[in-house]
């Protein structure tokens, strides 16, 4: 039996999505910037995709910038925004250095981008701690705000442990604070969220949530790898990070990846239909898996928040085993999962997320994540439950007491 439970890493392309993409490789191959028939055909497809995507988030089409994925979107949002402030800043005046508030459990796309901005001396950054469930407190975000704060960047759902962050709470107080800031001469604060792991299951109405900028990547919800978007509410000016032609209203140069963008729009449309039922179905399977593992194997702890968690992620630490070894034994049984163990990471550092949650390195060593998807069945879950306990017994037998 082949069981793929690594959907938080990536998903296969939906057949319907692929079907929508195919014409743009051959018959409708035009460049959307060309005035002739082929060009206009591509332009129409691009515009339609933009409208469909905007509908998903209930925003205007002009508020969508297509990118190569969440990493690029995050880079553009953070660097683009800070560069806007940098341009208007008096050099060497430290007090005016813009301030970013983020969390210590963000994806590396955010963490490394923030570090880069710090290194350039263009921004100061506060990396907020999280509690043992991987939750950042909205109050802590609020308290971290300073007169020079310009950006708050908090991920919607953590990719390793699935914890859902209090996005609406943060969005609400950012809105409120922004009302009073102009009077004190302080800059407006923008709220960015990396919503990559939330798109298919959670509310993504950005106005309701108070989100100004949102990043995502397509391959986590059955669109291809290498396409994503940055949502930017109107009135926010970003300095573009990729120079060249005037595509995407001058915000991202380079000929648009029409086929992939059409695929991204189709995948979002598919996910929007029946979103709640699918979230419920996946959550039930995930709960069955988590409860089964906790019951059948001793020394296991569910990582992440027990309730405030995305439906597709079940993550654990298993005492007395190493994650990569578990993955190899699972692979022998046809099961694909992932681990945040140092040995599995290749760079030999245990997951920064687990460490930030206060998980001891020895325990992070035995971390295991299963992430479910639309193809996951109850049979697959029961199959995992039938083989995992033996694997753990076998590996524990190998370990020194």
């Amino acid at each position: 039996m082949k069981v793929y439970l690594d959907n938080a890493a990536t998903t296969p392309v939906d057949p319907e999505v692929l079907a929508v993409m195919m014409p743009f490789f051959k018959e409708k191959f035009g460049n959307p910037s060309s005035v002739h028939y082929q060009g206009q055909e591509a332009k129409i497809a691009l515009d339609r995709a933009r409208v469909e995507v905007a509908d998903f988030f209930r925003v205007e089409p002009e508020e969508i910038i297509f990118t190569s994925g969440a990493t690029e979107s995050v880079n553009l949002a953070h660097k683009g925004l800070i560069e806007t402030f940098q341009k208007s800043r008096v050099p060497a005046c430290q007090a005016e250095k813009p301030h970013i508030v983020t969390t210590s459990i963000e994806h590396k796309a955010v963490l490394e981008t923030c570090r880069h901005l710090e290194k350039l001396g263009w921004a100061e950054v506060t990396y907020l701690p999280v509690d043992r469930f991987g939750l950042v407190r909205a109050e802590a975000v609020e308290r971290a705000i300073k007169p020079n704060t310009v950006l708050i960047s908090v991920m919607y759902v953590n990719n390793e442990v699935g914890t859902i962050q209090p996005i609406k709470k943060i969005g609400d107080f950012v809105k409120k604070i922004n009302l009073s800031r102009p009077a004190s001469g302080a800059p407006r604060i923008f709220f960015h969220t990396d919503a990559t792991q939330a798109i298919q299951y959670l509310n993504c109405d950005v106005s309701e949530l108070g989100i100004d900028l949102l990043s995502l990547t397509g391959h986590k919800f059955y669109a291809p790898k290498g396409v994503g978007l940055l949502l930017v509410k109107s009135g926010i000016s970003l300095v573009r990070q990729q120079d060249g032609g005037g595509q995407d209203h001058g915000r991202r140069a380079g000929t648009e990846n029409v086929a992939f963008i059409a695929g991204l729009a189709e995948a979002l449309k598919q996910r929007a239909a029946g979103k709640e039922q699918e979230a419920k179905r996946v959550k039930e399977l995930r709960d069955r898996l988590a409860e089964g593992i906790l019951k059948k194997i001793s020394g296991v702890v569910l990582t992440g928040h027990p309730e405030k968690r995305a439906p597709h992620i079940a993550s654990f630490t298993i005492r007395g085993v190493e994650g990569e070894a578990v993955l190899m034994y699972l692979a022998d049984e046809g099961i694909a999962a992932s681990s945040g163990s140092a040995c599995a990471a290749g760079d030999l550092n245990p997951s920064h997320v687990l460490l930030a949650m206060g998980v001891k390195p020895e325990l992070a060593h035995g971390s295991l994540r299963f992430s479910l998807g639309k193809k996951t069945t109850i049979r697959e879950i029961d199959y995992v439950l039938s083989v995992l306990p033996e694997i753990v017994v076998k590996l524990r037998k190998m370990a020194p007491k």
């Binding site: 085993v321 190493e322 990569e324 692979a331 760079d347 060593h365 190998m398 370990a399 020194p400 007491k401």
Partner: protein, 135 residues
């Protein structure tokens, strides 16, 4: 990330040789890897035999067992180490290098080379533990 391992490594991961304990061992060592958190424990039974050429008595690794909490490379290197060391004189066993271990496994991914260093270190430490006990 799951790395590409050789068939030897995978076979040993599935069926490790000499895994377990020796009760009242002559030498024992525990080594840990500060880098990634793995722990390896080695148990030795030392024997004496006469050399065929000159009839001189020599000490050799009569039995060796391991227990490892670690990655596939750590398990495979511990296992292959016990196979290399078994039957060797202590003088020869002390010379087992991590390179020898890696070669026996038909190679290891670059980020996993330190696991073989750990195994070689464990054997030296266990032999010295025995020699220390003797004095």
């Amino acid at each position: 990330m799951t790395l590409t391992y050789t068939k030897k490594v995978l076979d040993l991961l599935r069926n490790p040789k000499n895994m377990g304990q020796i009760i009242k061992p002559d030498g024992v060592a525990v080594v840990g890897n500060r880098v990634c958190g793995d722990v390896m424990k080695l148990y030795l039974r030392i024997g004496r035999r006469r050399r065929a050429i000159d009839g001189k008595e020599e000490e050799y690794v009569k039995n060796i067992k391991f227990q490892t909490l670690g990655c596939p490379a750590a398990i495979a290197t511990s296992s292959i180490l016990t196979e290399i060391a078994k039957g060797k004189t202590l003088t020869r066993a002390l010379k087992i290098s991590n390179r020898e271990i890696v070669e026996e496994l038909d190679g290891l991914p670059r980020t996993k080379l330190h696991c073989s260093v750990l195994a070689a270190e464990a054997l030296k430490k266990a032999i010295r533990n025995y020699q220390g006990n003797e004095k």
